[in-house]
Symmetry: C2
Subunit: 597 residues, 2 copies
């Protein structure tokens, strides 16, 4: 049904040419050499004030100045969303010299006479840059530098990969990795230190679980951290044990027992990691991202990048707790920095853990672990104090809540605080995965934003069923209900927990089927949403959730010209095809930031 | 002699008009309203890219573009230094629209035809902006927010002032102050907690000595810090005692025992403090300053100011130790930020303390305290390790050394490291106050910069005599010898230890007399230097010492247009008159940043 509706909307585009002769679009410059030089400077990512160069060139070359000079992207199959969330089409885009959208052009519209550059789209599809409403930028970057176990499908496969990585990276003092998931290994239990020792025993190894809520240490790592049978887990944490001894897995707050002895990455490593993260995000069509849990080290890395003119992805940063918020931003959120590329917008708080590690805080016991209801990581009063502390200085508050009890508790707190902290607050609940249906309408009451990650639904539905049973999941991943209730919806990936690729996200949002098409017809298909709704949540919605909707997120005049050229028309494609979409070019602020080679 | 020489150089200026009809110079704008609007925007301190506005105005108003538009400062008694350190004169200044010096004009030179603004100097004296080569910006700002005892001349007067401040600031949880100096009180000993209790007993009071090397606590403060007779001073510190009990004064590293319980200033307080510091510096004609010992909190305050467009004074920052250096700048010094207004250039290290508190590290015992030679705060290996750590990532190293042994030790370390860390390193010795004459020639060997504060000489000569006797002071405050040896000399104030006012600094450099003219003829007058030499150390020399000489410090084409209008011609004035110079206007980057009211 979804497919039919969107293809009707887009029928008018069928007449447009769609020649895909070359992977890279051709940019032609006018013949005036001064203007061409200015154009080359525009392409230099280190310049954030292209206006100046173009104007200087115009002045020096003695051209009559046609108000402001503009660039032109022409002959594209342009797809955007209007401010009511409807799809609209265009085939040309005028970009001002400060990198903003000046105008969307229809075939009949007159083109600017002397554009500073002209990009020939060759009929390819152009869509708005995608915004990841919830990710961990440095987590992604550092993961790209470390051992990645997310593609392993058995413990033995993981052990082999760990062994190979250790020999390729001889000389490292620690081996750090991420991405393991005992569920994918069919292990039915956590792995053990002994099993890790079998791969690498001579140096410490510390591997985070895919969701970041647990870590797996070998014996050398436990020894380095001084872990013994007598070590107690801190509040909010758990040390897995076997035979009265720590078995090697440390859950939630207990991870810190090992992490405090892991050598931190050097600034150079961070810079490299961030460069890799930016490359990755841009290659997937992500032009902006909400960074959930920015530390001072993360922030300094972003600033170094901005100061050197190599910050390309826009970052809406949410500090990792109140202390980091104050250290980073001081008395109020920062201004937008680096031409709308960076802002410390608010704070990320945690209320509970994840479903996989049974850290999500539930209203009733886990179906598969009677007596356990998960852990609130933050006490009731502490949560409200932290929210108040941020809100009183106009920082936005984003709270991680996965379990139904956690969501109810955050909604309670928002209700209580909304009397004191009025105005446009945009409280955010991050994940909002399992919500008691009685609580779903409460999101709309104070304009609370549901910041959700569609791919989690596809990854987790089986586990969610095991953890809670179907009866208690009627408000799980409830995108349709959120939209029907007029709850502002922002979509993201939770990268590096999941891939940052937004196209599988669109597909899952439309189908509630996973990559294998399971379950056929979708899990709880009444919660499916339409392409334009999912696209809105990945663009305008994610921008709104970060107080950025006046700056980017829509291809509308005055907005930053952040857009993608992609290899298919997603309004005509089936969800299984949308999932496979390839990004050909990514443009940020009117500058080409990625080209597929 | 000095006076005769400079007035000969400046004779040609006698013919210039010197009408001082108004305190504030008049800026006239062309009549074209668009251009006038652009000019108003230039005056807006929040804009760092005035070019754009002016050019946009030119384009929109359809004016023929005369290459770049320029501003004009005319009819001034202009004084600058050429690149050989000779005084030169001019009577007009052309400023480009990005705030740089375009040209110095002689009376015969043609003026730009359509300047974007014209400042009528009315014959007043214009000199380069002064650069403070060694200060503590946030120390100054926070001092301006706190109780200032620097004008008290007796213990009783201080007690009265403390009592009054406490009643004016009721509700504060702590009373924090600075500026006391028991030497000025004629006390012959440190004050005591009991004497402070007599002023304020109900809340904790913590008052730093004028040199920052000691602090004075009342009993409530010692109680809050848990200080008892059993408390031991940390290495590098001393707890003054009386009758076996702490007497209330904590020297050098022992200050931390109290400071760890003093509530830190909130970010808002820091922003306010920094704004006050900037106002103060600009009112004294300081357009740039080397901040010696920048913490992350300081840095974030500077950045907040830059991000909001209210950073007016240029800051060359030296991090407070290696950890802060890495946290602030990461893998290398930052680029110049905010249009040459901020850079993390290097690191400030401490080798010894101050002479007043007998913390300066001497080659032989203090004359007035046999058995004491002061304390090295940093071990020999540790010093070299820290210097290496900074130098290997191309951070500049500035080391506090006051005593003759400390200076010898730093010179040794520089000699040892210079083989490894080659190139243009510009090792700095901060203060370089008491140098054994045998060590004086060693400064020049590796281009080591002597970063000195002339006013310290006038404040300290009596105390220095008491501490060391005349025979050991032959290399003390040895400015003339440094210049004769071709050692790069940078002058500063050590604000807030001394006032940041550079004009008393010029006067002391020329006379080695204090504010009262004592000792008549100057202490060790063979170390006096000429006005142009002192002016160079407060401008070009201080810029060179911060790797900034390509950007500011000289009124030469291409340099930032940082300049002052002052109320007298310092080349014609006697040193006692130079000392009283008033700054009428301060311009930074071609923008007026201060006007005397």
């Amino acid at each position: 049904m979804t497919r039919i509706r969107t293809s009707v909307v887009r029928q008018n585009l069928l007449q447009l040419p769609s020649a895909l002769n070359s992977q890279e679009s051709a940019i032609t410059a006018p013949t005036n050499p001064d203007v061409r030089q200015a154009d080359e400077e525009r392409d230099d990512r280190r310049r954030f004030h292209p206006k100046w160069h173009v104007l200087a060139a115009l002045l020096l070359s003695g051209l009559a100045a046609p108000a402001f000079a503009s660039g032109l992207v022409d002959d594209v199959n342009g797809i955007a969303l209007d401010d009511k969330g409807k799809l609209l089409s265009f085939n040309g885009l005028v970009i001002s010299d400060d990198g903003k959208v000046e105008k969307l052009l229809q075939p009949k519209d007159k083109r600017p006479e002397r554009p500073t550059f002209r990009l020939d789209g060759k009929g390819r599809t152009l869509i708005p840059g995608m915004i990841d409403g919830h990710g961990h930028v440095m987590g992604l970057g550092l993961a790209l530098l470390t051992l990645d176990l997310s593609d392993t499908r058995s413990l033995a496969e993981a052990q082999a990969k760990i062994r190979a990585y250790a020999s390729e990276n001889a000389g490292r003092k620690w081996i750090i990795g991420t991405g393991w998931n005992q569920e994918l290994w069919g292990l039915g239990r956590f792995p053990t230190a002994a099993e890790l020792d079998a791969a690498v025993a001579d140096i410490p190894v510390w591997l985070e679980r895919v969701d970041g809520h647990a870590g797996w240490a070998n014996s050398a790592a436990m020894q380095a951290a001084g872990i013994t049978a007598a070590t107690k887990a801190p509040p909010g944490g758990r040390i897995e044990s076997a035979g009265g001894k720590p078995s090697g897995v440390f859950v939630d707050a207990a991870k810190a027992l090992i992490e405090r002895v892991v050598p931190p990455p050097a600034p150079k490593d961070r810079d490299l990691a961030f460069a890799k993260a930016q490359d990755k995000l841009l290659s997937l069509g992500i032009t902006a991202i909400a960074d959930m849990g920015t530390t001072m080290d993360d922030w300094q890395t972003f600033r170094r990048s901005g100061d050197r003119g190599v910050l390309r992805v826009r970052i809406m940063a949410y500090a990792a707790g109140i202390d980091q918020m104050v250290a980073i931003a001081g008395p109020e959120p920062t201004p937008w920095l680096y031409d709308d590329r960076l802002r410390l917008t608010g704070v990320k708080l945690y209320l509970d853990g994840a479903l996989g590690s049974r850290g999500a805080w539930l209203k009733a016991d886990y179906s598969d672990a009677p007596g356990q209801r998960g852990l609130p990581l933050t006490g009731s009063t502490q949560l409200r104090n932290q929210m108040s502390r941020a809100a009183m200085d106009n920082f936005q508050v984003a709270i991680h809540a996965i379990g139904d009890q956690a969501n109810a508790e955050v909604l309670d707190a928002i209700e209580e605080l909304s009397g004191t902290y009025r105005g446009d607050r945009r409280w955010r609940i991050e994940h909002a995965q399992i919500v008691d249906p009685v609580d779903l309408p409460r999101f709309a009451t104070h304009g609370t934003i549901a910041s959700m990650q569609p791919v989690h639904e596809a990854s987790d539905w089986r586990m969610a069923l095991a953890r809670m049973g179907e009866a208690r999941l009627q408000g799980a991943y409830a995108w349709r209900t959120m939209l029907d209730n007029k709850v502002p919806l922002a979509f993201g990936s939770d990268v590096p927990v999941e891939s940052a690729n937004p196209f599988p996200g669109l597909a899952v949002a439309m189908t509630r089927e996973d990559a294998k098409g399971e379950p056929f017809g979708g899990w709880m298909p009444q919660q499916r949403i339409r392409l334009e709704e999912a696209l809105a949540a990945f663009t305008r919605g994610a921008a709104y959730a970060g107080f950025a909707e006046q700056r980017f997120g829509a291809l509308a005049p005055g907005q930053q010209a952040d857009f993608l050229l992609i290899d298919r028309d997603i309004t005509l494609a089936r969800p299984t095809e949308i999932r496979e979409t390839q990004v050909l070019e990514t443009w940020v602020g009117g500058q080409r930031a990625y080209v597929r080679r």
